[in-house]
Subunit: 354 residues, 2 copies
DNA sequence: TTGTAAGCGTTATCAC
DNA sequence: GTGATAACGCTTACAA
């Protein structure tokens, strides 16, 4: 079996420094009760041998692995979620500052996700979890709560007795509707996400509140649901545009969905931003480079990941989870996929009939 | 400190089953020398208590953690690499099948990357590494080779005495040039990647070979270099199009760069696929949804990740790394960003002057 | 077939 | 201040 040669242990350091290994340990863990002289000698030996404590041995004693875990939804090999990759990157960078690592796993279903969390808890491979894409009733969170295992959720659930970091989804979508209504739109469609996702529910609530605020009657036909992929967004957009009274604006649950919708709109021969306004959500970089650049709401996935990681570390170190709950606003990034309606819904319908 | 209550250990299982813990261990590790009766009793106890061996304790004894590591380039919070996220997803899924996990870290520079690998090796947190985005001379690979630590590279380097999985970059770019030359283009630009990256060198070599095969003289002015981001691709495209004799086709080192280039072309008032042909590389999903859909070469990042993970497991289990070297072809995905040149370079120049 | 006990590399509790 | 030494939870000779 391939093995590393000459692993250097605390005994090697102790021998080289001419002390007991207990002393080495105390120096390395800053007990501060060692004489400056032996301290230096030990530090030198550590340096010379390139000694690093074995995480396994340390864990065995301490009960801590300095590793956080995250269980991602398994992609199908076609739709890696750009939000998650930025989020991950944020976590990893925050962790780097605190000398901890991140264990990444995937799960292909809710039950599988629960099982994976369970396995990781029991095999004690992580000190805590970051849970993403929370659902209204989230079985992962139930498990974690019941086990008393540290975690931070990105997104809330019905139950909120834990640490979470969330974007004010409702407010963002209220503002999105307010924005397009101010542009003059009255037929405003909503391309929503799966309603088991809590953020999807919140965004839908914001959409409805926005309509109410604008004095527009809520038309269920304009409110659709799709998976978080481009193809699904395209399909949902086609469906809404086929209505007798099609929407002149589409508010989309994510940028990915919006990009799919844009593809569909274009395929129907319509001009985005003129015939049909599209608003996304996420602020993905790619949105700035497509045609026309996508107007969207931005939450920094990177910042969210970093902050969630930091919060989790606090919780692991004993901070009351209830003191780590943060709601942050998303900002409108005005680009060019929105504009005043150039056609009435009827005219839109006619131009589609051709 | 937040801790899990009542962790169940092998002793608990042994007690409940009324046997010695050694016996429990043997059953769990399939020594097959235990009587069916006690075996059942033990398995039942394991089931009832929900016992999972502590990874730390197991590691201490076995010298194996069943965890693979990957050190990603730290994004700047703006440009998460979609290729890497799909690649990660592929790894994670392959690992799930073998009950192993993935440790993800980031590094913000070459030296930092080496340091992180080193720390992970020494603290024995992983059994092996997957190295991505290899460079011609790769300090990470030097380190790993010197330490005799198991790894698989995604991409080759100058030295090839290790396990790797790579796409035939050179061939793909030769074919890209062949393709646009067949369409009638003679001024073919290249938006290359940083030449410290080995794949960037290979792709450039393919570009040059393609020119040669097509009987087109190599013009250094048409060969540029950029970072792997949209903005950098946009800038490089602008530079080439400002030449006195601008290219009518742009072969790009990645889809991300191509998308940036498309933005720049459009901003100059030119039609993609008619005035300027653009060819990408990676086959990112988003390429199908932008306008016009991007013609590209596709390698499945997901499959690559999964395969690399599997290869690494083999190497860790003792397979000779030299028996795990695989070169796979990339396939042309014909979409709509390419076409016969509608203008000569001179005409292109003139239309730009306006 | 099963029990006993030695260690894996740490940290922590004692004495000295 | 520092050195022994006992855990931590597991695997694996070796005995029985």
């Amino acid at each position: 079996m391939a093995r590393t040669k000459n692993t250097v242990t605390i005994d090697d350091v102790a021998r080289l420094a001419g002390v007991a290994k207990g002393t080495v340990s105390r120096v390395l863990n800053n007990y501060g009760d060692t004489s400056a002289k032996t301290r230096d000698r030990i530090l030198q030996a550590v340096e010379r041998l390139g000694y690093q404590p074995s995480s396994a041995a340390r864990k065995l004693k301490r009960g801590r692995v300095d590793t956080l875990g995250i269980v991602l939804p398994a992609g199908d090999g076609e739709h890696a979620d750009p939000f998650l990759s930025e989020f991950l990157d944020g976590i990893a960078q925050a962790l780097d500052l605190s000398d901890r690592d991140l264990l990444v796993t995937t799960a292909h279903s809710d039950e599988h996700a629960v099982a994976v969390h369970d396995r990781l808890i029991r095999s004690r491979k992580v000190d805590g979890f970051i849970v993403t894409r929370t659902q209204g009733d989230d079985p992962r969170i139930e498990l974690l709560l019941q086990r008393g295992f540290p975690f931070v959720a990105h997104g809330r659930t019905r139950n909120t007795g834990f640490a979470w970091y969330d974007v004010d989804n409702e407010r963002a979508f209220l503002e999105a509707v307010r924005h397009v209504a101010a542009l003059g739109h009255r037929r405003i469609g909503f391309l929503g996400g799966p309603t088991r996702m809590n953020f999807a529910i919140q965004r839908r609530a914001g959409y409805r509140k926005g309509l109410e605020e604008a004095g527009i009657a809520h038309d269920p036909a304009l409110e659709s649901t799709c998976e978080l992929s481009e193809s699904s967004g395209a399909e949902a957009a086609r469906t809404l545009l086929r209505l007798d009274e099609p929407p002149t604006a589409l508010v989309c649950v994510t940028d990915t969905v919006a990009i799919g919708a844009m593809g569909a709109i274009r395929a129907l021969g319509l001009a985005i931003g003129r015939d049909v306004t599209v608003i996304g959500y996420d602020g993905l970089p790619v949105g700035a480079y497509i045609d026309p650049p996508l107007t969207t709401f931005s939450q920094s996935a990177h910042a969210a990941g970093a902050r969630a990681a930091r919060m989790l570390i606090d919780v692991i170190e004993g901070v009351d989870p209830l003191e780590r709950q943060e709601l942050v606003p998303a900002d409108l990034v005005k680009r060019s996929s929105d504009g005043p309606p150039q056609k009435t819904p009827q005219e839109l319908k006619e131009s589609l009939a051709k």
